[in-house]
Symmetry: C2
Subunit: 197 residues, 2 copies
């Protein structure tokens, strides 16, 4: 079994137990890929063929509106999964674009492979049930924060909760995650700096 499988197998084993045959079968369905920063692994409008487990690196998924304004729906670092879930599951054109922020290595599962996995090893339904459940809860918390908190509070939360993301992406990207302009984030940071001293 290839060395690059170790991390994802560890990840999987946090939620379900696999026999060595099952692990072998799962691994055989994975495709490994290394990509340099600025690569685009999914372009909105195209079909989203894979769900991506991040071994190393940083990625970003974002939506671009009709005025070319970007809104970042998620960042992904080591041990996270990233895809355009709606597009991947329903095999419809993607609404999101996914780009590589820091050189990355990925383990990819195609829709066909995942469907096969669910049939061959039903335990994976459980794994994905748990993953989707956690993703749902995370997004729900984010909606609540967006509804109830000011931009400044959201920024504080973000850098506190995801320090290893916030110091590897640009302020412009963080602003687009928080739903504010880069100019306003800059002003917030200035304000914060004076407060602390």
């Amino acid at each position: 079994m290839s060395a690059q499988c170790q991390k994802i197998l560890n990840h999987v084993s946090k939620h379900i137990d696999l026999t060595s045959e099952e692990a072998e079968h799962f691994s055989s369905l994975l495709q490994f890929k290394a990509l340099p920063r600025q690569s685009v692994i999914l372009k909105s409008g195209n079909s989203c063929n894979t769900i991506n487990y991040v071994n190393t690196g940083v990625l970003r998924a974002f939506y671009t509106d009709d005025k070319d304004k970007e809104s970042t729906i998620m960042f992904a670092i080591a041990d996270w999964w990233i895809t355009d879930m709606h597009s991947f599951i329903n095999q419809t054109p993607a609404t999101l674009t996914i780009e590589v922020i820091e050189d990355c290595s990925l383990a990819q599962l195609s829709k066909a492979s995942l469907d096969k996995l669910f049939v061959d090893i039903p335990k994976f339904e459980r794994l994905f049930r748990i993953m989707m459940q956690n993703a749902y809860i995370r997004e729900q918390v984010r909606v609540l924060q967006n509804l109830s908190q000011s931009a400044e509070e959201r920024y504080e939360n973000f850098i506190r909760k995801y320090p290893q993301i916030s110091n590897r992406v640009t302020q412009k990207q963080i602003a687009s995650y928080l739903g504010i302009t880069p100019e306003f984030l800059s002003a917030l940071r200035k304000n914060r700096a004076t407060k602390k001293s």
Copy 2:
């Protein structure tokens, strides 16, 4: 099998096929409850013991912050499920409150029953995987709309997408779902009325 099971069994059968024994077993784990409007089925701070399938009626789940400002995370009408997912799954104190807006009848599953269901009939892992996946996608769309759209656009979207919710709940409740004040929603509506004519 009780008549009130029909709706939920129909719902389940949209995603998985059950034998009549399985359907019977599933039904035996359900608890049915009818509640008048203004009932509170979950109070924040208490433990969330059930996930609730709505047969009829309208419910609302909301967060109350330290300044007593409410933010509505979801409404539920017939054929929806509602719970404080984080609290239910992890059996931790609820952060949400769930209240009945219109007299309702519910089918409830306790955490223990659901866990048992996953063991006894693994197909339910699939059902919940799909449910959680859809919930995740919905919340993700909502985050993107909150980030990229104005309050007016969000209001338009809401009443277009959920007409049978928007005409059964108060404007105050809609405002708390959109993340704006009731006063501002009132102003938006006035504005909209003049535009149309």
